[in-house]
Amino acid sequence: MTASTRRNLIAAIVVLFALTVVLQVRIDPTVADMNQGRKTPFAGLSTEFILGPLLGMQQAVAGLLWVRADEFFHEGDYDAILPMVRIVTWLDPHNLDVYITGAWHLAYNFTDSSERSDRRYIPAAQKLLEEGDANNPGVYDIAFELGWQNTDKIKDYVRAHYWYKKCAEERKGMDERGELTQPVPMFVWHQLAHSLARLGRIDECIAVWRKALAMSTEIVRKDPKDYSKRNVRDSERHNLELTLKRKFSRYQHEIDWELDGKLTKGIDPITGEPRPRDSYLFLNQDEIQRKLEQFKIVGETPPPMAVGQPRPPAVVPKWETAFDVRPTFTADKVLELKGRFNVGDGARVTIRLHDEDWRPPQLKEFTFDIDQNVTLMQDQHSVRQGTWGRKIDMSKDPKMYSFKSPYYFLVFEFDPRGTSPFVHDRFGWSGEGMTDKKYLWEEKEKDPPNRILRKVYRISRAQVLRRTPITEADVFPTAKYVELQTQAQGTRSE
Amino acid sequence: MAAAVSIQGLTKTYLDVWSKTEIRAVDNLTLEVEEGEIFGFLGRNGAGKTTTIKMLLGLIFPTLGTATVLGKPIGDTDAKAQVSYLPEEAYFYEGMTGWDTMDFYARLFRIPEPKRSERIRQCLKDVFLDESAWRRPIRGYSKGMRQRIGIAQALINDPKLLFLDEPTSGLDPIAHAELREIIVNVGRQGKTVFLSSHQLPDVELTCSRVAIIHRGKLLTSGKTQELTAGDKVEITFSGGDAALAEKVKAVAGTCEAKNGTCRVPAVDPQKVNDIVDLIRGAKASVVSVVPHRRTLEEVFVDTVMKAGAN
């Protein structure tokens, strides 16, 4: 090779190398998109798993770890799963099932010896899901799970509605190739409607049912032979009609419709107009289509109800619940409750005992480490024939119930929004029909306002350990309790 | 006749990393090899023979000096196309068959089909490689078969110039003789052979010219005939008296009388006539006048010993 050839080659090398730098600058943003949410590939990993991520095989290592975590689950070793969930989601932040299953473990599977969940893990469960949702924008699964956990476990219907709404309106489902092209499944809309009912926002609830029905009708029209889709459509019709009926029966007027000289009870699910009972079952496709178009023109507001004789509203504050409870510690850390509650059988009272300074923590980042010194017990019990009672033994689980704090709040609550339809029939969705001489508390900050029952005791550690009995002098004003709970929210977790 | 190889002041030095001293593997070597001759390049192990050949083939690079091969500078591809090389103990891709090995090398010479197959067949026959071995992997070849395929690959391009580095080392006597035969045949075809060896009888039999290299330096070079030619003559005569013996002794230095026959072992050639005259003048009879001939081995040992003594 002559000197000049070498010079030329070196010049070519310089030019080509510069080209690679230019390409790298172009490539970087896409790589960043691809790695979104992924931590430093080897953060927090034990050595045996370091080589894999270094070689660019994060997903495979994550997959194998997750298989291992599944084994732990079947062995009941939940504590071992949590760090694995953390690592797996770091390595592979797009594995939706890991977030969902991990959050489920956190929220449900840590329990005391009486199968009461360890609620100290709930903020972590929520944070994990939120992180997963942020790392997988556009996918509905995790947002839905957030909605569901808030409904089923936490009973925070405001947050449940927030996530269901986000899920239904801003998220997409995957097609069989995994592309985000599909509308979210109809059950997301159903849950959104239910969450609105839980918030007492019935008109919005009805509007969602109408919208869902319209969508399903269109789906069935495209694929009339799929009976599962028909079933979905029919259940939406049923729910819409039921909600309309309940709304009118609870809040407006209970009406016996007289139409064409016949006694009818049906309400057209699409227009909200009365029509022969259950006749929608016999509607043909054209008729449904016509009704749908009519619906679109009319908009979301049903036409005014003008037929029949109005009755007075069913739900008025007339039902004295006579809510009360007497708590006693019959042994160290063993709480016995005797309560009464003038309500239908099956309504549930929530019992909560927590440190005086405990607030629902707001986590900045997901961590599965919880403050082991916090005592937080929550349970519920259903009412039979106007009374209820329960023995809560917290002596067997010192890890969950350490009782390190000098003072505790012992709270008894009934929230009509979480209750069953037959209770709603008496009380309405927001407790409008309910009254109580002692413990009625109106949550005015909510829209619409909600009326709940709440009795709060402030008790000392000495009382938990039976040095002194609990008396009615320990009852703590609900207003002050609410003020304390909202004021210093989140400070505990910092 | 033009020079097939011409070497001027070729030097190769290595730095010994341990002692930090410079080792001169080849030291200011100047040499010419004529076209058509079989040239013997002699030296002990480590004398610099292989280093020289590797420099001539462009496998390593000279520190100083220049050389031309077939009139072209070192590494010239045109020259290489007409050159071939059999390294000391030929190395092959063990998994390849003999035929595929030949095919591979033929491709390196850019020999197109069908000429390629023809050439391969010819070369394998020329080196007497048994046809049953052609399609077997070289892994199973004996030493002699390997050497044959080595020569065959060196002949594939019908070269003008062959570099053979110790081609006969380690062969049994019959293979050895056959190989020598092959080399002589190659020489008869008018090809130039640059034969590096310390198998002196072979060289003496095959090479027309030799050079001796020792510790990188050229000690001597010349026609084989001339190098082995002695510079003394032995004269034997019978008859004559003690006076004659004394006279001869005075001229030649020695004269050994035994059983009526006298032997004068080492006579300078220019004194031969004088001594013969003396013998004839004394009516004695000359039995023989024999010029001394040395074997190449003797020449080599003498030369190298002398160099070593210096």
Binding site: M1, L9, L16, L55, M57, D97, G138 | L59, K80, S84
Partner: protein
């Protein structure tokens, strides 16, 4: 023709190596056994199957590439076969290119075999051809092309053992592009400079890790095809740089 002859010889020679064959058999067996891990939900098992398959191909491809790349030239010198080759009318660059191409053909044959088995397994498991996985296998191949060129470059002056660690080490460093990229915005100037040097100078192997997108299609990428083309261009151009360097070094190499 000379380059191709050397490449062909190299490929045949490498394919005769038992170690590569064993690697291939183990990898294919692992891919084929992938579905037996699937006791998770269908979506999970699909993700595990895919990530496992791609990882096995990557790992086996990696070993094959490094073992091939560090060997092809030093073995010639060690076995002295290089004498008979370079004494023929073969330019040294032809030799380097031939050796590189031969190694690359070997890697291609191996990765393609594993890829075919992998896609076959997915076809059997999921009832459709996961054609998008071809992208993943292809990216692995180009990643290995770059790694092979790197190993060839080192092999022109380093011993195989040193080369093994050099190539592996740079592969690991080059895989941390996500880290070095994030360090480009570091407040510390020195950190920024070092990260920049590492990020742009060392072959950026992390670019080719598109498993994330393939396993989780919800990951949003602006234009996958453009990204793939950019990566292929990157691999080819950077490999050219390394091969030119190898040619320059090998030109003065004494054998």
């Amino acid at each position: 023709m000379v380059t191709l002859a050397i490449a062909k010889q190299t490929l045949e020679d490498m394919l005769r190596r038992k170690i590569l064959l064993i690697l291939l058999i183990v990898a294919v067996a692992m891919i084929a056994l992938g579905p037996s891990v699937g006791f998770l939900s269908p979506r999970e098992s699909s993700a595990v199957l895919r990530s496992l398959g791609l990882a096995v191909i990557l790992l086996a491809g990696l070993l094959i590439t490094v073992l091939t790349g560090i060997q092809v030239i030093p073995t010639e010198i060690e076995r002295r076969t290089v004498y008979t080759v370079l004494s023929k009318p073969v330019q040294r660059y032809e030799f380097v290119l031939g050796k590189f191409l031969g190694g690359l053909f070997t890697v291609f044959v191996m990765i393609a075999s594993m890829g075919i088995v992998f896609i076959g397994v997915l076809r059997y498991q999921e009832g459709r051809f996961a054609t998008e996985m071809i992208q993943g296998v292809m990216m692995t191949f180009f990643q290995m092309t770059l790694l092979g060129a790197l190993a060839i470059f080192f092999s022109t002056f380093a011993t195989p053992v040193v080369n093994f660690f050099l190539s592996f080490g740079l592969f690991i460093v080059g895989n941390m592009s996500a880290v070095t990229e994030s360090l480009l915005n570091n407040k510390n100037v020195a950190t920024r400079l070092i990260a920049g040097a590492v990020h742009y100078a060392i072959p950026n192997f992390g670019n080719f890790n598109i498993q994330n997108k393939l396993i989780h299609p919800q990951v949003v990428i602006k234009d996958m095809n453009v990204f793939i083309m950019q990566n292929i261009a990157y691999a080819l151009i950077y490999s050219a740089v390394l091969l030119l360097l190898a040619i320059i070094v090998f030109d003065r190499r004494e054998v």
